[in-house]
Amino acid sequence: MMEKKSEAQIARTKLLMRRDTQSVYSSNDLDVSCSTLCSRCSAIPWATLVYEPEYRRTRLFDVPNPAEVLQRSSCPSCRIFACSLLNLDTPISKVAYRNSVVEYGDKSGKSWFSSSLKLRRYDRGSLRELYGNYLGDSASLTLLSGIPQYMNFVEAKSWIQTCVSGHEHCKPEPSNTLSDLKVLDCHTRTIVSAPESCLFVALSYVWGQPAPHPEPMDVPNFPALPCVLPRTVGDSIEATKMLGYRYLWVDRYVCCPCIIHYTLADQTVY
C-alpha cells in the first residue's frame, strides 16, 4: 500500500486542487462537522497543510504505543489513520504530511508515502474524482452524503449490454450442447429443465465449511427450492432478475439428481 509519489501524480494532484476551487458545489451542500476530533487530531494544522510548499514536511503526530489505541479512539480521524497504519508490516512511529500526501516514518528514520490516505476538499467534485475509479460516477455522490450505497443495476446492465452487442470474442458457447441442463427459474423459484437456447447466468461462490450432514431445510424438495436459501444464492436470484435474466445456474440446486448430490462428497461443496 506504499508508493513513491511520481511526478505525474503530483501534477495530477495539483490539477485536482485547482479544479476544486472552481467547483460548482460548495461545502455547504454537505452537513459537515469537525467538532468530534480528539486533542491529538485537532492540534494538526489541517487548514494550512494543503498550502505548504511541496518540499516541506509537516509533522502530524507521533503514533501512540501501542498503535491499536488509535483504533479504539472515539475520534474518526484516529480510526482512519489506524486502519491504514495497522495494515503495514512495519511499526510506524511518526505520521507526517509532505508533497500532498500522508507520509509514515519508522524509528530508524525510514519513510513511506501512504497510497490509501488522502486529504481532500470536502466537495463533490474532488471526491468524485477520488472514488470514481472504484464505484462509478453516480455512486460517489450518494456515498459521500452517507446514504447507504446499493448496486446500480441500470449501470451494470449497460456494462453487460456493451459486451453482448460489441464483443464477438466474449460470446458464450451455445447452451444446447449441455445435456440435461437444469437451471433455477428466478421468477417461480423452482428448478426447471433449461428451455431451448436458454440464456442463463452462472454463480461462482464459496460454500464455506462443508457440513457433515446437510440440514433438512437445506435440501430442495424438487422442483421447489428450499424455503431458506443461503444469502448469496438469494441475492444472486435478485441480481439475475434485476439484470434482465430469468435463469440462474447454482451448482448446489441444479446438479442432478439433486438428492444424491448431498450424499456424495461432491465437488460442488467447496
Partner: protein, 397 residues
C-alpha cells in the same frame, strides 16, 4: 461442470465474505462505505478502498481451487466485493491497455490472456496447486475443464504436453519439470508425476522435459502404453471416460542410477539437510540438496539411504558443447512401491541453480562457488556418475 461457465451469459462472482451466507454486497445489504471524516470545515481525510480486483485477489473466493476454473471459463464476469462491483469480459482481458493497472496482477494471472497455451497451462497449475481444495477426489475435475480449452496443448492427469514443429524434427515436451518449494503430502488416487498427485504448491523449472532420443516415455491410451507422439491430442478426452488404473502410470525407458543420500549437520557455509551424493569423478564427490516432494524421507531413513534416481531430461544444447556439464539433466528421485515407482523429489545439475557442495578424496567438504564460472570444468564432463546406472524400463505411478 466447466462447460456450464463457458455457456453462461455471464457469471456472478460472489467474492465478499467466506461462505454462502455472505450475500452479494449492494443487493440485500449496502456496499461498505469508504472511510471518510471531515477535519476542518472544508477538508476531509479519506481512506481509499482497494480496487475491486485487488479485493477479489485477497478474497476467500480467490483462494479456492474450484473457482479458478469457474472464473477462467466464464466469458463475462460480474465481481462483487464488500465495497463495489466490477464487470470484466474476455475482450477486456485481450485489451492490454485496459488491463495494465486496471485488473490486479493476481486476478489477471487467473484469467485468460494472450500468453501462449503452454505458459498459460503451467501458470494455471502453479496457481491451482496453491489453492485449497476440500475433497481430494476433485483434484483433476476442478482444473481439467480449463486446461482443455487451451489450444494446441494436450494433457494427461493435468500434466501438459505439447509438440512443436519449430525445428526440423518435431519435438514433444511434457511439463514434468516441476518441484515443490515446500515438501508436502501425497494426494491419493492421482499419480506422483503430476502436481495434482500432491497437496502442495508447485513451481516450474525454466526448461521442460523434452522427449528426446534415448529416452522413451509412454502413456496409457486405448488399451496399451503408447508413445506420446501417437497419442497427443487425444489424451485429455480420456479424462471424461472412466479411465483405467493403467492411465495413472507412465512407462519410462531411461537410465536409472542408485544414489546414496547423506544427512549433513549444520556447519559454517553448509546448511543441514539430506543430500544426494553424486560421484563426479575419481577425485570428487558432489553433494546436492534435492527439492523434496515428501517430508517423510527425512524421518524414515536417517542413515544408509539409497534411492533409485531416473534421468529424465537428456537434452544437450549444441551451444553448450564447450560447457561440459549436463546442464539440462533433471533427475527424479524415486521410491519403489510394489510393481512401480513413485517420485519423492528431484534435483537438477544446473550448476548455477543452487548450493552444491563438494567432497574431495581427503573427506573435506566445502561449498562450490559458481559465481566466477564453473570450477568443475577442469574435472571433466560430469557424466561419470551415470556410468554406474543402467537403462531400465519401469512404471512411474
Amino acid at each position: 461442470m466447466g462447460t456450464i461457465y463457458s455457456s453462461a451469459q455471464f457469471t456472478i462472482v460472489a467474492a465478499a465474505g467466506t461462505d454462502a451466507n455472505a450475500g452479494l454486497p449492494g443487493v440485500s445489504c449496502a456496499f461498505t462505505n469508504p472511510k471518510i471524516c471531515s477535519v476542518t470545515k472544508d477538508l476531509c481525510l479519506v481512506a481509499l478502498p482497494q480496487s475491486v480486483t485487488q479485493s477479489v485477489s485477497g478474497s476467500a473466493w480467490y483462494s479456492r481451487a474450484w473457482t479458478l476454473q469457474e472464473g477462467y471459463l466464464s466469458k463475462r464476469r460480474l465481481f462483487f466485493v464488500e465495497h463495489g462491483a466490477e464487470f470484466i469480459c474476455d475482450q477486456d482481458l485481450q485489451d492490454k491497455g485496459l488491463l495494465v493497472g486496471h485488473v490486479a496482477k493476481e486476478l489477471a494471472a487467473s484469467l485468460p490472456s494472450t500468453i501462449t497455451s503452454w505458459d498459460r497451462a503451467n501458470h494455471m497449475m502453479r496457481q491451482f496447486t496453491g489453492r485449497s481444495l476440500t475433497y481430494d477426489t476433485d483434484a483433476l475435475n476442478a482444473i481439467v475443464g480449463a486446461l482443455e480449452t487451451l489450444e494446441g496443448v494436450d494433457n494427461t492427469m493435468g500434466v501438459v504436453i505439447s509438440s512443436s514443429n519449430a525445428s526440423k524434427t518435431s519435438s514433444i515436451q511434457m511439463a514434468l519439470s516441476w518441484h515443490h518449494p515446500i515438501p508436502c503430502s501425497r494426494r491419493k488416487g492421482f499419480p506422483s508425476w503430476s502436481p495434482i498427485g500432491w497437496r502442495g504448491h508447485v513451481d516450474y523449472l525454466d526448461h521442460q522435459t523434452i522427449i528426446s532420443s534415448g529416452f522413451r516415455l509412454e502413456v496409457w491410451y486405448n488399451g496399451r502404453y503408447r508413445l506420446l507422439s501417437e497419442t497427443i491430442g487425444r489424451l485429455s478426452r480420456q479424462h471424461r471416460a472412466n479411465e483405467p488404473e493403467q492411465a495413472k502410470f507412465l512407462r519410462l525407458k531411461t537410465i536409472v542410477v542408485m544414489l546414496d543420500f547423506e544427512d549433513l549437520d549444520e556447519s559454517p557455509n553448509i546448511p543441514a539437510g539430506l543430500y544426494v551424493k553424486i560421484p563426479y569423478n575419481h577425485d570428487l564427490t558432489l553433494l546436492v540438496q534435492p527439492l523434496w516432494d515428501v517430508e517423510s524421507v527425512y524421518q524414515t531413513h536417517e542413515h544408509g539411504l539409497q534411492l533409485a534416481c531416473a534421468v529424465l531430461v537428456r537434452r544437450r544444447t549444441l551451444m553448450q558443447t564447450t560447457w561440459r556439464c549436463e546442464r539440462e539433466t533433471q533427475i527424479i528421485i524415486m521410491q519403489p512401491l510394489g510393481t512401480h515407482y513413485e517420485r519423492v523429489g528431484c534435483f537438477d545439475l544446473n550448476w548455477s541453480y543452487r548450493n552444491i557442495l563438494a567432497r574431495d578424496k581427503q573427506g573435506r567438504t566445502f561449498p562450490l562457488d559458481f559465481s566466477y564460472g564453473n570450477p568443475l570444468l577442469e574435472y571433466g564432463d560430469g557424466t561419470f556418475w551415470m556410468e554406474t546406472g543402467e537403462e531400465r524400463t519401469f512404471l512411474l505411478g
